[in-house]
């Protein structure tokens, strides 16, 4: 028996830069089964209704990473997003190109910014010439060493994470989730001899602009979990270099601050992160806030059992070396 069909309305972003005055949304309504992938619907529209619709796709099996786009505002692969749940939740399906990359036509974007960030992290092994790989064993690694890659080798470079990232949207300095997840992959590769150099170089170049909003981790169709690997990079960067950046100083400052009373001392933290001169720059804002919220100048009370916290710090900071 054939599955029942539903009437599905698509509002598709249409735009030809240089030709159209502004983007518009065009509605197409089709009868489809709920498990139809959005990509299948788009191809049907193009084949049967409107041959001018432009989109990018290839494998239709969530392997090539070509068909990432925004589906009801979520960055997703069109080939593995079914229409049923979208219609159920939104009553229609709004299809738009990925964000954070200029539109070339309709749903096709120029991925140059995404690939530029990828190239910048130098995504290739840098072998130490003094330690050549033994003949025939170029990829020899222990299972434990392979485990350190976590999910990063699964990345198909679809750019869904780049599209979903609010830091990329707001700041051109941020390399984006994919480039940083890829960087992590090389930093933990036991064959790569540039680990320290990679960590040193990425720090002033946007590592600390990650908001840890985890939108990348939700957008990723391969569960690469970029936000969690960016966290790992931050901890590794601190271990390698200490507080060389505002971001790392703030993380270290917060950790030390918490040890003091068990509660946050807001003023002390500002001073640890920004220094006295940095604090001066924030005096105006500080007074504005203080007039409504005078507690910002109060020292927090010490929690009971602060000695327990001190002992936890003594045992785990810095973290003891893991068993190999």
């Amino acid at each position: 028996m054939a599955a029942e069909t539903i009437s599905a309305s698509f509002d598709i972003y249409r735009y030809r830069p240089g030709k159209d005055a502004s983007p518009r949304y065009q509605r197409y309504t089709l009868d489809l089964t709920p498990h139809t992938p959005v990509l299948t619907a788009l191809l049907k529209i193009r084949a049967e209704v409107d041959p001018t619709l432009s989109l990018r796709y290839s494998c239709r099996s969530a392997i090539c990473g070509s068909c990432a786009m925004q589906i009801n505002s979520k960055s997703r692969l069109a080939c593995e997003t079914h229409i049923g749940p979208e219609i159920e939740r939104h009553g229609r399906i709004v299809v738009e190109p990925m964000r954070n990359q200029p539109v070339l036509r309709d749903l096709v974007v120029d991925q140059a910014p995404f690939w530029r960030e990828y190239d910048k992290i130098e995504p290739h092994l840098k072998l130490d010439p003094r330690h050549p790989m033994p003949e025939g064993k170029a990829t020899a690694m222990t299972p434990a060493q392979v485990d350190r890659f976590k999910e990063t080798p699964r990345c198909i470079a679809c750019a869904a994470c780049y599209s979903a990232c609010p830091a990329v949207e707001a700041d051109a300095e941020f390399p984006g989730p994919m480039a940083l997840a890829k960087l992590y992959r090389f930093v933990v590769d036991p064959r790569d001899r540039a680990t320290q150099d990679r960590l040193v170089r990425i720090q002033p170049n946007g590592l600390w602009l990650c908001l840890r909003c985890h939108l990348c981790t939700e957008a990723c169709p391969k569960d690469v979990r970029p936000s969690e690997r960016i966290r790992d990079l931050k901890e590794m960067a601190i271990a390698a270099q200490g507080g060389t950046e505002t971001g790392s100083r703030h993380a270290i400052g917060f950790k030390e601050n918490l040890k003091g009373a068990g509660q946050l001392n807001e003023m002390q933290l500002v001073r640890a992160t920004s220094g006295l001169t940095g604090m001066l720059g924030q005096v105006g804002q500080g007074i504005r806030v203080w007039r409504k919220k005078p507690e910002i100048l109060k020292r927090p009370r010490k929690i009971e059992g602060l000695d327990e916290l001190e002992k936890i710090y003594a045992a785990l900071d810095p973290p003891p070396k893991e068993e190999p």
Partner: protein
């Protein structure tokens, strides 16, 4: 019901009005708050960046305090909720568990993992229930259009936070409807407030906050409401900077979640600490249709 109250740092300091509103709402909905002066700060995501295992241990200590008392925890901050839940999830990894227990066992701290960590939003919508909240409404907020602003850590990563949805939640909107307000649908409601990089790069942080406020405004919001005091700082205390970054007049009142509920349940603006906000909330309160006022 009885819960271990975990107010978090901000609600005890600059976000005192959140603590006031929470206590008022809980008192009026029959939620007993048990206080523990030995709870520590959750690390706010920053300690996690500096030392992951330390961050887990600090929060397991907090979890164990509530667990020992046989109580589930109530959080009123998306970030506290996120950090405490993350510690619970990470402790299911045997390697992590061994390292944390090695530090906690000598202190006599035992953790079984039975304690639940619940944000006020979940307690109100699931434990108390939307219908029960609605039944207590004395002054429905008819006429006030509110954009819910969730805060990242309440939602994501969804598999770890056990949230209703990473990008398409509706519990907050359901609650807003229950108290008579009109929820506003906008993309920014599940986006970031910018707070985590307020110190790293204030201009970018404020630009991000500004975008979300503009988005809510463009969709007709008279006010926004958040379950997270860090989002509140970003959206309210730093709204002047956000406005500068997005080159727009924002003037968007920002409520804490329990303030919106409290208003509908009959609390006065004084009881909810509304005068402590940087952006005045009066314009939003004036939207409440006079006929519906008590």
């Amino acid at each position: 019901m009885k819960l271990a109250y975990y107010p978090g740092c901000v609600a005890q300091e600059s976000g005192k009005e959140l603590d006031m509103a929470t206590r008022w709402v809980c008192r009026n909905l029959g939620i007993e708050l048990v206080e523990f002066p030995n709870f520590s700060c959750c690390g706010s995501g920053f300690v996690d960046e500096a030392n992951e295992v330390l961050n887990i241990a600090i929060n397991v200590r907090n979890l164990a305090i509530a667990e020992r008392a046989g109580l589930d925890m109530l959080t009123i901050c998306s970030t506290c909720q996120g950090m405490l839940t993350l510690a619970k999830v990470r402790m299911t990894d045997p390697k992590v568990k061994a390292r944390v227990e090695a530090a906690l066992k000598p202190l006599g701290i035992e953790y079984r993992g039975t304690v639940q960590v619940k944000h006020l939003l979940r307690v109100l919508t699931e434990d108390i229930g939307i219908a029960a909240v609605k039944a207590k409404v004395r002054r429905p907020l008819h006429g006030m259009k509110v954009g819910a602003f969730y805060g990242c850590h309440l939602l994501r990563p969804a598999d770890e936070m056990q949230s209703e949805s990473a990008e398409e939640p509706h519990a907050f909107e359901d609650l807003l409807s229950a108290v008579g307000a009109t929820p506003v649908d906008y993309r920014g409601r599940v986006m970031c407030c910018g707070f985590p990089i307020q110190f790293v790069k204030p201009s970018t942080a404020s630009a991000i906050a500004g975008r979300q406020i503009l988005d809510a405004k463009a969709h007709g919001a008279d006010a926004m409401a958040t379950p997270c005091p860090l989002c509140h700082l970003s959206l309210d205390a730093y709204q002047n900077k956000a406005a500068k970054e997005v080159h727009a007049v924002l003037d968007m009142p920002i409520f804490h979640l329990p303030q919106v509920v409290g208003l509908a349940l009959g609390a006065s603006p004084e009881e909810l600490g509304l005068s402590r906000h940087l952006v005045p909330t009066d314009p939003a309160l004036e939207k409440v249709r006079p006929a519906a006022r008590a």
